[in-house]
Subunit: 186 residues, 3 copies
């Protein structure tokens, strides 16, 4: 009995040790509980490409309009988008979801933006949504934004997504790579 | 003594079992720590209803304007709202708070939107705010968005809100039912 | 052995007691794990101050325009900003970061707004971002909004920020004090 109780105690200590780990933030090792990498493709409406466009300017400063991105680094332009998400960097790959939301250009001096959007999945790959918000200083090679929540397969998710511009063509097309690292998975 | 220690061990096992449950995401049972159901009522300004309107178009694509929702499924319309929240589905029930924020129509092919808003309560029912963000594919019977934070009574809250369209009249009025399930309560 | 096992049990009880504290929300004492106080300065473009302006109207209701805040308490105006953050309340203090995002005036009857933005730091003081969202009923002395995420130094942060209007001059300049209290620090 004594041996058993000692063994049980040891077992308990181990159990407690491991189970209490996540409760102390200081002890956390920042290893994501889930990692996902996607691409999404944004084609801005410019007055001539309504068939292919996936986004459009809906708000502009007094010196701007809705079909040409404003000067002063597009400061004040607000763009609404519904972009295809693909697993690789090919615009023509079968989309596995949609990136839906908006971005604003928010600085006069340099190109920089702020965005808030959702990844909406409803396919065999994934079912659910991930919600994002954060600053996107375009001139930096990589930018970190927050994963502020999720639903379905990504129920209650939180994390950090690292965005990088994978390609851009003039002021009409750009492609972002989104490296999603979730640190709270339910 | 042996009996007592065994009993204590059992007690410990039970205590650990229950207390460690929330620390291990895999073990979590997804029971909300708080559930709230509300309705909110949106009356879009159409040029003739300024007295009753609770929302207005403030951003529109180049082919749209500010008093009529744009064609192509309203793609690109951005609407700012301050809507009454009621406990039942009657527009004329005493409002217990305000739903304040915006939504955008973000797709050309079908009706779908994206929204971010707060529920602002300052009454005997509730005091505090809840903040929401997420995709709202209107054609689905129910849509899940994220509760991304809260203040006051809802300090640090997180969860999932299930939205359903309870009624709509033409392109002027709609009523949403919001079934809020919080899974993080402080 | 009996004494040791009893001592171990006691030790266990204490260990469990302390380690399980953070897992039970009811028991949490709401002491922030990090507190930061900043000021940010917003100068709205009015058609004549393009050199100093840090924000501009980009969305307006049908009765408004882009250089004058609309009547009816600015209801429907959407403003994009890139404001300097300072440690004290002096507009001319060296900025230690930028507040980037947008706000909307969302009520006809009184002044009230809704905002979503990031604090972007890249200096010796701080490196990283904090993301915010929430209702901002301007007429209240203090308003609580949510810290919905963070990156870099503020990796995975969550909390509540208390905003107060520190000064305003006409409809062109206002200064906000932001008292940030983080309750989730990694």
């Amino acid at each position: 009995m004594r041996v058993i109780s000692t063994l049980l105690l040891l077992l308990l200590l181990i159990t407690i040790g491991s189970s209490s780990l996540p409760t102390n933030p200081k002890q956390r090792v920042h290893v994501p509980c889930k990692r996902l990498v996607f691409y999404f493709h944004d084609i801005i409406y410019n007055g001539h490409n309504s068939k292919n466009a996936t986004s459009t300017i809906v708000g502009a400063p007094s010196w701007g309009n809705k079909t040409i991105l404003a000067n002063q680094n597009h400061f004040g332009d607000l763009v609404v988008f519904d972009d295809p998400i693909t697993l690789d960097n090919n615009l023509h790959s079968p989309p596995i979801g949609r990136a839906q939301g908006f971005y604003i250009y928010d600085k006069k001096d340099i190109f920089t933006s702020w965005l808030s959007f959702s990844f909406v999945f409803n396919s065999t790959h994934h079912k659910g949504t991930l919600n994002f918000a954060g600053a996107d200083p375009l001139m930096n090679k990589t930018r970190d934004i927050s994963v502020i929540g999720g639903t379905g397969e990504f129920f209650m998710a939180r994390g950090v997504a690292t965005i990088s511009t994978d390609a851009f063509e003039g002021e009409v097309y750009f492609r972002l790579c989104v490296d999603i690292n979730l640190y709270e998975c339910w």
